[in-house]
Symmetry: C2
Subunit: 345 residues, 2 copies
DNA sequence: GAATGTAATGCAACCGGTTGCATGTCAAGC
DNA sequence: GCTTGACATGCAACCGGTTGCATTACATTC
C-alpha cells in the first residue's frame, strides 16, 4: 500500500530496494535472499516462496552490477561492426540480438566506422563489462585481436585468424554458381567489380570468380569500386560498358545496385543487353530490375557467432572452430542471355 | 620486467591488475590510486605522474563495474528500436552511437521487434546498468513509459507523451511541400498510402496530407499498406492504379519503393504517367527512378536524442522538452506533370 | 618559535550482491 | 538415548572501486 504513488507528489527517482531490505522485511539473512534468487534449490521451497513474495511486494530486482562485481558474470556481450548503416549488418545485428536475448544477455553495439583505432577504443570500453565479444569484419590487426582473445571469449565474423573462433560466410560456391549461370546464358567475357583489397570477403570472392571463370574459359577483367557503395558502383558503369563485357559480378549488392543505376543512365538495358549479379542478398527484390545475387545468409552469421560465443563462455570449448556458412545463387531478373552481337566478343 | 611475457608460455587469460596492485607497486594507498584517475586535481602532479606510470606498466585499467557499484554511474546508455532492419533506424543508431561515444558512453542496443512485451523485458534488463534510455518509436503504453522515466532519464523518439522529453521528426512541412509540388505539377486527385494506425508518424503524415490537400482543393483517398514494407507497397499498386489517382504519397520510402515496383509490373510509367513521393529519405537515389521524398533527418533524431539524454543525466533539466526536427522535400525523378488525359480527374 | 592554515595523502566504511565455512536443527541408526 | 549425517540457514569476507573524514607535512604569520 505505502508504495502506491499518490497522483501528484513523488518526483524523485523511485528508490530501488536492496537485498538488505528484503532480508529485513522477510526476517532472513541477506545470504538467504541472495540464494532465493540465484540458488533456490539450496533452500526450502517454503523459504523461497516467502522471500520472493516479499521481494515482489517491495519491487525488488537483483542489481546486475553488484552481482557482476562479485561473480564476474555480467550477462553482457559486445558486438562490434564496421558500419551499422551498411545493409549487410542490420540483419546480422538483429539475429545476434535475438540469440543473445534468448540466453538472457544484453548486447552492447559498437560501430567502428572502418577505423581500427576507434575499434580498439570500443573494445577497451566494452571488455571490462562483457563476458564475450563478437567482431564482425574487424579492421584490427591480428596482434590486437589475439590479445583481446586471451582476455575474453571472442568470435570473429568474416575474418580468418588461425586459432580464433570464427564464422566465415563462404561465398565461393554461390559465386561459382553465378559464373556457371552466366556461362549457360552465353556470357564469355565478364567483369568483377571489386571491393576493399583488405577485406577477406573481397579476396574470397575475387578468387572464386577467377578460378571458376578460368575453368570455363571465360575471360574476366577487374574494375574497382572503392569504397564499395552505391555511388562507386554507379561510377564504375561507364568503364564497364566501354569494356565490351556482357555481364558483371559485383562485390556486394550495394555496388550492384549502383551499377544498375549507372547502366540505366547509359541506356544499357538490363537484362536484355547486359547482366548484373550482386552478392549478399541484402536488398531482396527491391532493386529494379530485381537483382540476381549470391545469397550469403548474413543473418545466420550473427546467430551462429553468438551461439559459438555462448558455448565458449560456458563450456570453454576445446580446439579452434572455423565455421563456414554456405551460399547459393538466387536468380532474379537482372541476368539474361548474352546479346548476340557481343557473344564470344 | 617480471611482467614482460616471455614469448611462448602464458596461455591463461591475462589477469587484470586491480587498484590494490597498483597501490602496492607505487607505494601509495588505494585511495590515492583511485584519485589519480578520477580526481587528479586533488593530488600532486608528481604523484599522479608516478601512479599513472606504474599503472601503465602493469596494464591497469579501472574496472567500470566496480566503479558503477559505488558511484551509480555506469557510463552506459540504452537505445531501444522497434526494428533494426528497417532502413529508417540504422542511420539513427549510427548517429546516436557517435554522440554517445564522444561522451565516453557505451550503448546497449535493444530490438523490440514491434512487441511491447519484448520491449518491456529489454528495458528491465537494461535499466539496472544504464544511466539513461532512448526509446525510438516505442510501442510501450504510456503508463509503462512514465514509470521507467521516474527511474532513469529517458528520451523518446517519435512518440509524443506530455511531460517526457521527446524528439519528434516533424514531417508535416515536408509533406505539405510535397502536396504543393504535386499541385504545381497539376495533380488534382492523389492517394496516401498509409502505415500503422498506432504510429505517431503515420497520424502526423496523414493529417498533414489531408490538411494541405484540402487547402488546395485536391482530392485524397487513403490506401493502406500494413505493415509498412516493400511488399505491402507493391501490393497496393493495383488498387492505386485502378483508382484513377495520378500520384501517391507513401507512408515511408520502403512502401514507396514497393509501389514503384508494383507500378512497373503494371506497366505504369513513373514519372511519365504517375508520380510517387516517399517519406524519410533513407534510400537516397537508390530506387529506380530516384525517389522524390520527404527528407526526415532520421540521423539527427538519434544525435539530438542522445544529446538531450546527456544533459538530462548531467544537469537534470528543468521543464519538459519537446524537440521538433524539421523536414523538407527532396525532388528527384519519381514525380512529374500529371498526364493530360487524367488531369482534373 | 609557537600558532594557524592549507594542501596532500591515508584510513576505513560503503556500494549490493555472492559464497566458503560454521552453526544449528532434526531424523535416522545403533 | 546418544551419535551421525543431511540439510537449511547465518556469519563474515570478498569483488574493486569511491569518498567523508582524520591525519600528516609543510608554509605562513605574528
Amino acid at each position: 500500500m505505502k508504495r502506491d504513488s499518490e497522483s501528484g507528489g513523488e518526483r524523485r527517482p523511485a528508490v530501488v530496494p536492496t537485498i538488505s531490505q528484503v532480508a529485513k522485511a522477510s526476517g532472513v539473512s541477506r545470504a538467504t535472499v541472495s540464494r532465493a534468487f540465484s540458488r533456490p534449490e539450496m533452500l526450502t521451497e517454503e523459504t523461497v516462496r516467502r522471500v520472493k513474495e516479499v521481494a515482489d511486494k517491495l519491487g525488488y530486482v537483483p542489481n546486475q552490477v553488484a552481482r557482476a562485481l562479485s561473480t564476474g558474470r555480467h550477462g553482457n556481450v559486445a558486438l562490434i561492426v564496421s558500419d551499422v548503416a551498411n545493409p549487410f549488418f542490420p540483419p546480422l545485428i538483429r539475429a545476434a540480438q535475438l540469440r543473445a536475448d534468448q540466453a538472457g544477455l544484453c548486447v552492447f553495439l559498437g560501430n567502428s566506422d572502418e577505423d581500427p583505432a576507434r575499434e580498439e577504443l570500443l573494445v577497451g570500453r566494452f571488455i571490462g563489462q562483457v563476458e564475450g565479444l563478437v567482431l564482425a569484419s574487424s579492421r584490427l590487426d591480428e596482434e590486437h585481436i589475439r590479445r583481446h582473445a586471451t582476455r575474453r571469449p571472442l568470435v570473429l565474423i568474416n575474418r580468418d585468424i588461425e586459432g580464433i573462433t570464427r564464422v566465415l560466410i563462404d561465398t565461393a560456391p554461390g559465386v561459382a554458381a553465378a559464373i556457371a549461370h552466366l556461362d549457360e546464358l552465353g556470357h564469355r567475357y565478364i567483369a568483377y567489380v571489386s571491393g576493399p583489397t583488405t577485406s577477406w570477403s573481397n579476396q574470397q570472392r575475387r578468387n572464386a570468380v577467377r578460378r571458376e571463370a578460368e575453368k570455363r574459359g571465360i575471360k574476366v577483367i577487374a574494375v574497382p569500386a572503392r569504397p564499395p557503395s552505391y555511388d562507386t558502383g554507379r561510377l564504375a558503369a561507364t568503364q564497364i560498358a566501354a569494356s565490351g563485357v556482357t555481364a558483371a559480378i559485383a562485390f556486394d549488392d550495394l555496388v550492384a545496385q549502383g551499377l544498375l543505376a549507372g547502366l540505366a543512365a547509359l541506356d544499357v538495358e538490363v537484362p536484355k543487353s547486359f547482366s548484373v549479379v550482386g552478392c549478399d542478398d541484402v536488398l531482396g527484390e527491391t532493386t529494379y530490375p530485381p537483382l540476381t545475387t549470391v545469397s550469403a545468409r548474413c543473418a545466420d552469421a550473427g546467430d551462429v557467432a553468438v551461439g559459438l560465443l555462448l558455448s565458449q563462455m560456458n563450456g570453454g570449448v576445446s580446439g579452434e572452430i572455423r565455421h563456414k556458412l554456405n551460399s547459393h545463387l538466387v536468380i532474379r531478373a537482372s541476368t539474361g542471355p548474352a546479346p548476340a552481337k557481343r557473344r564470344g566478343r
